[in-house]
């Protein structure tokens, strides 16, 4: 798409997320559905992606908070599985994702002979995120330069350029791929390899390690190229 456009430097940004309680909470499945209709879009975003940057003590069985609560709070494994399979990367917007979530919940409510409830102290709390984006002061002219710095890049930078980028136009693309595509066909293999990464199933430090490995392998394959 962007082949032929001269590639400027890659400007590395970083970000930090703040979790903000919305005050909305659900005790049962119907309340969850009702809250979902009106809740701030950043709350839906946070409950799918926020876990990557949020402090946590466990290694969650499901990748989004709705599925985890269906499992742990409502003890409804079937619903947890249906919610757990939702991959936000497959949606063009948060509103589209919201509609699909409501669809899954409506289907489950239709099937249920009673509304599943959680214990009083197992409510679902809707929490939105507030992102602060800032400069790192780092710029990279080539893929080789970026590869050299990648192992020490913060997980906040990985989140901003890989996860958050997928919701910025052009959607479904991360910033690294968009930038590398501008270098033309010789970077194509690296772009394709990066496209295979799935941020939904890895921690940010695992994702960073995988990216480091992909860049290194690509650099080795194209050696000896002095321009990198």
């Amino acid at each position: 798409m962007a082949i032929g456009i001269p590639a400027g430097p890659f400007v590395l940004k970083d970000c930090a997320l703040l979790s903000v309680a919305t005050g909305q909470r659900a005790q049962n499945l119907r309340e969850l559905r009702e809250c979902l209709v009106t809740v701030h879009p950043q709350a839906i975003y946070n409950h799918f992606w926020g876990g990557l940057l949020r402090p946590h003590f466990d290694d969650p069985e499901y990748n989004n908070d709705f599925a985890s609560w269906a499992n742990r709070g409502l003890h409804d494994k079937r619903l947890a599985e249906r919610l757990g399979i939702l991959d936000p990367a497959n949606f063009d917007s948060i509103e589209e994702l919201r509609r699909e979530l409501l669809e899954v919940l409506d289907e489950r409510l239709d099937e249920s002979t009673f509304v599943p409830w959680a214990r009083t102290d197992e409510q679902f709390h809707f929490v939105r995120s507030q992102m602060v984006v800032f400069d790192t002061g780092l710029q990279f002219a080539t893929a080789g330069e970026l590869a050299g710095a990648l192992p020490t890049v913060s997980v906040g930078s990985i989140f901003y350029h890989v996860v958050a980028a997928r919701w910025r136009p052009p959607v479904h693309q991360d910033d690294f791929r968009i930038w590398l595509e501008r270098f033309g066909p010789e970077h194509e293999a690296l772009v394709h390899a990066l496209a295979e990464l799935d941020p939904y199933f890895h921690s940010l430090s695992e994702l960073r390690a995988q990216m480091v490995s992909l860049f290194d392998r690509w650099l080795v394959r194209r050696a000896p190229c002095t321009s990198c």
Partner: protein, 414 residues
């Protein structure tokens, strides 16, 4: 300037330090005041002891002030603390008047500094009444709640709420602890400092010396709970659990160690109850330690085979993360922040009774390999999520967010 910060790099990584420096850039020179009610003892003072110098090392003009008050004032705030955590403790009107008057007196003393600050962090209920007496304030005020407000006694909460709503934002440790307020309610779990005397690595000889000092036998298993002498920490339940477990592990020893805090007038009474329950048992070691006995507590946690935090109510329960950082799985009460930290069968056990605690002590005693595995997992989780550098980052993010406005939208600094 970042010398202090760089000392954390081996524990958390240089990328984390760099990120803090960049995030703090727009806050350089800002005047920030933290206010609480005790300089020593308890989790809040421990966090501020570290957080304030770290903010300074980032170029922020951070100060820490402590309010003063009479015995009646601290009686009132202790009852308030208990009531906010759900106890149906009545607070006489005279004591509530003392609360208001004490805050007014402290506001008079601190007024110039507080009104001039860019950001003021008010920690817990004790100083929450300051703001109404600082009419000329120019900065943002944030109420930091360190306790579990999930099910407060309504009358006391309504009294405090009238003060809290005047603030620009509140911070809670967990969403479950928050009450509805008409301003942003930010969620920031607390943290531990890996370099503090309480959490740093210790030489085995120092641990042995502490064992010797308190007559603990290194050859016999040891269970320990480190907590203030507070009924919500259920020290009597721990003694009961010890006795149940000792029937099966005859060599078992127990340490109940607690530091004092100047804002807790009930500690002495609870300590008396604990001594009565111990009934002179030579294998129950009740240690009322001074507030600065951090290295001793560190050594006791490291010496323990089984660490308990059998609280009935808990704000967050930092002693859990401390023990986990030392590679110990924790047997914790199924309540508050302990539930967040202890993942059943993964990094410890959640229990609901002395019987449950005793059962898990016996289990870990017979499965030392599991104890090791769970302990390693626990340490890694704390490393990634609960060190003070993460806590500092979230404070900085909140400060930037409040000073830049734009609530609900991404904030771009450049």
């Amino acid at each position: 300037m970042h010398e202090l910060l760089m000392r954390y790099a081996p524990a958390c990584g240089e990328d984390v330090i760099r990120q803090l420096v960049q995030l703090a850039e727009p806050l350089r020179g800002k005047r920030v005041v933290h206010v609480n009610s005790t300089r020593a003892g308890g989790g809040v003072a421990e966090i501020l002891e570290k957080l304030v110098p770290l903010m300074r090392s980032l170029g922020i003009d951070a100060q820490w002030e402590v309010i003063t008050g009479s015995g009646d004032f601290f009686q009132c705030t202790k009852r308030m603390h208990n009531a906010l955590q759900g106890e149906q403790t009545p607070i006489p009107r005279a004591l509530l008047e003392t609360y208001g008057r004490t805050n007014q007196e402290n506001a008079g003393r601190l007024q110039a500094q507080l009104e001039d600050a860019d950001l003021v962090f008010i920690h817990d209920p004790q100083p929450a009444g300051l703001l109404r007496h600082c009419q000329g304030r120019r900065g943002k005020w944030i109420w930091r709640c360190h306790i579990d407000l999930g099910h407060p006694q309504r009358q006391v909460w309504n009294f405090l709420r009238a003060e809290v709503v005047l603030h620009d934002a509140s911070i809670f440790s967990l969403a479950d602890f928050a009450q509805a307020l008409p301003h942003p309610m930010v969620l920031i779990p607390p943290s531990i400092d890996p370099l503090s005397d309480k959490n740093c690595e210790l030489d085995p000889a120092e641990i042995d010396a502490v064992r010797a000092r308190f007559g603990l036998d290194a050859q016999r298993p040891l269970m320990a709970q480190v907590s203030r002498f507070d009924r919500f920490k259920d020290p009597l339940g721990v003694i009961r659990a010890f006795r149940l477990a000792k029937d099966f592990i005859p060599g078992l020893q127990l340490v109940l160690a607690g530091g004092g805090a100047t804002d807790d007038p009930e500690a002495a009474a609870v300590l008396g109850e604990v001594e009565l329950a111990a009934d002179g048992d030579p294998d129950i070691h009740i240690l009322a330690l001074p507030a600065d006995a951090h290295r001793t507590i560190n050594a006791l946690q490291r010496a323990a085979d089984f660490v308990l935090q059998k609280s009935l109510r808990e704000g967050f329960g930092l002693t859990v993360a401390e023990a986990m950082w030392k590679g110990k799985p924790v047997i914790g009460g199924d309540t508050g922040g302990i539930r967040l930290q202890v993942v059943n069968h993964h990094t410890g056990f959640l229990v609901n009774s002395p019987e449950g605690a005793a059962l898990r002590v016996r289990y870990l005693h017979h499965h030392r390999d599991k104890l090791q595995q769970m302990g390693q997992r626990a340490r890694q989780i704390v490393r990634e999520n609960f060190l003070i550098t993460r806590h500092l980052r979230e404070y900085l993010t909140l400060m930037v967010s409040l000073l830049r406005g734009q609530d609900g939208q991404d904030i771009r600094l450049s």
